[in-house]
Structures are given as C-alpha cells and as structure tokens.
Subunit: 127 residues, 2 copies
DNA sequence: CTTGACTCTGCCGTCGGCGTGAAGGTCTAG
DNA sequence: CTAGACCTTCACGCCGACGGCAGAGTCAAG
C-alpha cells in the first residue's frame, strides 16, 4: 500500500510516517516512480512505534530495539544481540520508574481532590 | 532562605526555580536588594512541582491545581473551586491513561526480551 | 576597601517529534 | 488530454522546560 493508506489505517499522518523512515524505524520499498510501498506488517509496526513513543522512548531507542518486533514465530534474523538486551532492560527500567512517578503524581492529585471535594463521595474511586 | 540554598535542598537549579516563579508556581518574598527569599514550605512545594512535571503536567496545569497543595490542615483560602476539580479530574485521567500506555509499552519490551533472551530465566520478573 | 561568592534581569540556544507549506512529479477516471 | 488526488523532496516553524551566558548589583569576611 502507499503512504496515504497506511496513514489512514494507523491514524498517523504521512509526515510522521516519513519521519519514522528518516529515523530508521520503517524501510518501505520504492516504486520506480519514487512512491513508497508499505506491507501489511507495517501497520502493526506503526502501532508498536506509537506505543513506544507514547511511553517516552525516543526514536533512536526504538530503532535499536524494534527489529525484534514482528513476533510471528521467533524466526528472526536477529543475532539475539547482547547489547540489545541491555537497551531493552534500560528502557524497561525507565518505564517502571515512570509508572512510579505517575502513581506519585496521581496520589498528589487524589490528596488535593480529597481535601478540595465538599465531603462528597470520592469521584472515580480507584482505577 | 535564598535561591541557592533552596536549589541545593531540592536538587533543582536556580534557573529552574526562577522559571517556576515566572510560571506562577512559586511566589517568594523579595528582600530590599531584590533577592528572593523562600520559606521552608517551598521545599515541599518544589518537590510537588517536580513530581507533577515528571508526570507530564505542564506548568499551566500545575499552576491551576497547586494552590491546594500545602495540605497542613484543610485550612486553605481556596473556595473549593468547581472548575478546579474539573482540571484535577482531567489530569488524573491523563495520568491513568499514560500508565496504561506505559504498561502496553512494557509488555512489548517483555515480549521482545522473552523472544530474544536465550531461553534463560526472565530478568526482573515482575515490578 | 577589596575580594569572592552569590544573586539579579534579560535574552538567545536546545532538543524531539512532528506541522505546514512550496514546488514539482505520478497516476487514474472521464 | 486534463483535472484532481496523490505522491515526492526540501526546509522553516513550533512548543515547553529549561541551560547558559552577559553585564551588573549585593553582601559577608578579611
């Protein structure tokens, strides 16, 4: 498919898709005309990229770890890289820390809401 | 205390502290010389600000909700503002969503690590 | 008085993930 | 053939939370 369709199927703008390619996250084929040609697997890849970006990973980190993504079987040209595992572990730790920070921030908000709410039942009790 | 001491006691640079003031998050007194004079409560305030910033709230949002922070009693000049609760709820929802996204991203990393790790015991099992 | 540490107010720089044109090729329906 | 939708490559703009520097004032110690 071409970039427009991939954009529609992923909810990501063409500009962002070109940016991902520039960062080495996607490597679509090219038609003789120069048009990019994407495969169906790229839909999943883009979703993965978006999830990882939303988690605060930068494109360099994603580029490093994303080659292991497809996950159909474990048949991957990957050399089961040693330093790759390092990067994965680091990012995982970052995410866990970030979750803790979010929990702390939410606790602050809850404390304020609890003090601020006119002694009603607490809204959105726990989620 | 002056800005340098507050900086040391909070681990935040003087530049950042001035920025927080510029954004209305801190309102230190001024000596006749123009020097900022902070109170002990500002130490806690800065920690709160840092936590909220780390959770992705921008300074405008923090400025909106932070007046309810001190929490010594509930004696607060606050009018138990109605729209304040709205902002609080919105930010809380944002945080919860963000935690979900982080969990999803971590799951991706775990999947890759699980496939990539040479069938050893999984590192950092659950945290 | 002088030195050195500290502080003040500007104001420009940075970084990442794009948005937003501009200027020009491609492709397909009628 | 032509219009219109789609695509290409530059290349500048943006935003938020500061970093960093310049030029100048403040203040306690010796």
């Amino acid at each position: 498919m071409r970039i427009g369709e991939l954009a529609r199927r992923t909810g990501v703008t063409p500009r962002a898709l070109r940016y991902y390619e520039e960062q080495g996250l996607l490597t679509p084929e090219r038609r003789p005309s120069g048009y990019r040609e994407y495969g169906d697997r790229d839909v999943d890849a883009v979703h993965g990229i978006r999830t990882l970006l939303a988690a605060g990973l930068n494109s360099a980190a994603i580029a490093e770890i994303l080659p292991g993504l497809p996950l159909p079987g474990q048949r991957q040209a990957g050399p089961t890289c040693p330093e790759l595992l390092d990067g994965l572990a680091r990012e995982r730790a970052r995410i866990t820390r970030q979750m803790d920070e979010l929990a702390a921030a939410r606790a602050i908000l809850d404390a304020i809401m609890g003090a601020e709410a006119p002694s009603e039942v607490i809204r959105t009790p726990r989620a």
